[in-house]
């Protein structure tokens, strides 16, 4: 990969990377620093990247490693983030109970409400939802970013979506009030 990487490909992913950085940090200045750190790291390692590599996937891996590195340096003791819902039953990912009223309800939700619901997910769930449903990564690509088996991605994603569905169900629709 040459100079053109940053100019043509990497910059094209800046919104995606910033979105992922916000997903991880929930803080704009910290997220911006993380994006910058990612590009600096990527630039330094670019000569090791094969010509046919998945640049986007690689940049996300670089970002996550940078973030984990920051956490390690910032926290003196062990840090536990966003795992409060890991006890969800993962044996079932059956999408049942979605009746017509829910569909109608979801259609009326404004994008902000969905965004708020995503933001309020624990970080482990937020991460897989963003990587899959916003960035369109495959399970295997997400597994590469997270450094875990694809099966874990699958079960975590199912739980994250259940949680997200629950959050959206519990919100009052604002669309009607705003639609003037």
């Amino acid at each position: 990969m040459g100079d053109s990487l940053i100019n043509e490909q990497a910059i094209a992913y800046i919104d995606a990377l910033f979105g992922y950085a916000m997903t991880l940090t929930r803080d704009r200045p910290t997220a911006e620093d993380l994006v910058q750190e990612t590009y600096v790291r990527a630039a330094r390692a670019a000569d090791k990247l094969a010509e046919d590599s998945n640049v986007k996937n690689w940049l996300f891996v670089v970002m996550r490693n940078a973030w984990l590195n920051q956490i390690r340096h910032q926290s003196k003791g062990p840090r536990f983030v966003g795992l409060e819902d890991e006890e969800f039953d993962s044996s079932t990912c059956v999408a049942e109970g979605n009746t017509n009223p829910q569909i109608i309800y979801l259609r009326k939700l404004e994008r902000d409400e969905v965004r708020l619901a995503i933001e309020s997910l624990p970080v482990t769930y937020r991460e897989v939802v963003v990587l899959r449903d916003i960035e369109g990564f495959s399970y295997q690509e997400i597994a590469t970013v997270l450094g875990c088996p694809a099966g874990t991605v699958m079960s975590r994603l199912a739980r994250a979506r259940e949680k997200l569905r629950g959050l959206l169900d519990s919100r009052e629709p604002k669309t009607q009030a705003r639609a003037v």
Binding site: G2, D3, L5, I6, N7, E8, A10, I11, I14, D15, A16, L17, F18, G19, M22, T23, A31, E32, V35, Q36, Y39, V40, A42, A43, R44, A46, D47, T92, C93, V94, A95, E96, N98, T99, Q102, I103, L106, R107, L109, R111, V114, R115, I118, V129, V130, R132, D133, I134, S138, Y139, M154, L157, A158, R161, L164, R165
Partner: protein, 284 residues
């Protein structure tokens, strides 16, 4: 019933395009015959569509883009242009560098007057090119659309701290309409707003970004003097970017037109009397 339970356990895989080959065919075959599973799948698909509709979740600020472009390009220059055999001898070079450190003040003093300064691309030019690209990709929609220059000028009143006057040479000259004014929007630039005006000529977009010269000053690139003004020409990401300052404002004109993109000047200088203004920008 067992078949339905198995199928419903695979709905996410199916909708995420993770189900392949026979598994996918089997899934689709079941859906054709089972209205209940079809309904559940449709429901899940709508739910996912609703979630995916929020894309992009966040948009990076122009300031961040500029920072990334500047810092990353510098990094790449250092990393990529250095031959590998030299990189392998970095340790040796470090020893030499230590020695040179003692001689550095003398070297700097000797060469300061003679060495040409590197012509780095200005952050304003980078920001203008990036804004042009984002608008071209549909990521930066116009906040107002009109083909009337006066309406654009009026729209910016009280929105930016400087007066934006968009010339209307086409109308006044009565010449053939060569370009179309599309509209405008504000774009963030440092802690202020810049004016962004979009044009289109022969199906190709032209962007004009305007800010006060207190916020940005043109610099870097190839400099060309014409009519008492100094134009800075840069090629950025395949785009032609011309920046200059005039009467308290700094401008950036971005296009993918030929040569130096000097044809883009036509959005303000279409009249025949202005051709001598544009001519110096043509490559010699």
């Amino acid at each position: 019933m067992q078949a339905c339970k198995d199928i419903r356990g695979r709905i996410n895989l199916y909708l995420d395009n993770e189900l392949q080959g026979d598994d996918r065919l089997q899934f689709e075959s079941h859906l054709r015959d089972c209205e209940a599973c079809r309904s559940v799948t449709r429901t899940e698909q709508r739910f996912l569509d609703g979630v995916r509709d929020v894309k992009p979740l966040y948009v990076a600020s122009t300031d961040l883009r500029t920072r990334i472009l500047e810092s990353s390009t510098d990094e790449f220059r250092v990393q990529q242009r250095m031959p590998s055999f030299i990189r392998a001898r970095v340790v040796m070079a470090a020893a030499v560098a230590t020695l040179l450190l003692f001689l550095l003040p003398v070297i700097v003093w000797r060469f300061r007057e003679r060495a040409p300064q590197p012509q780095a691309v200005s952050s304003f030019a980078l920001m203008a090119a990036d804004t042009h690209l984002r608008h071209s990709r549909g990521q930066l929609p116009l906040e107002m659309t009109t083909s009337a220059p006066q309406e654009v000028s009026d729209w910016f009143t009280n929105k930016v701290s400087f007066k934006v006057k968009i010339p209307n040479y086409q109308e006044s000259s009565g010449q053939e309409k060569l370009y179309t004014l599309e509209g405008a929007r504000l774009v963030a630039l440092r802690n202020d707003y810049a004016a962004y005006v979009a044009y289109e000529m022969k199906g190709r977009p032209i962007s004009l970004v305007i800010t006060s010269d207190g916020v940005a000053k043109p610099s870097g690139g190839e400099t060309i003097k014409a009519k008492g003004l100094t134009f800075h020409y840069n090629a950025i990401q395949g785009l032609k970017v011309i920046t200059w300052s005039d009467r308290g404002l700094t401008y950036a004109l971005v296009s993918d037109l030929d040569e130096r993109g000097q044809q883009s000047c036509i959005v303000c200088h279409q009249g025949a009397k202005d051709q001598d203004f544009i001519a110096p920008l043509k490559p010699h």
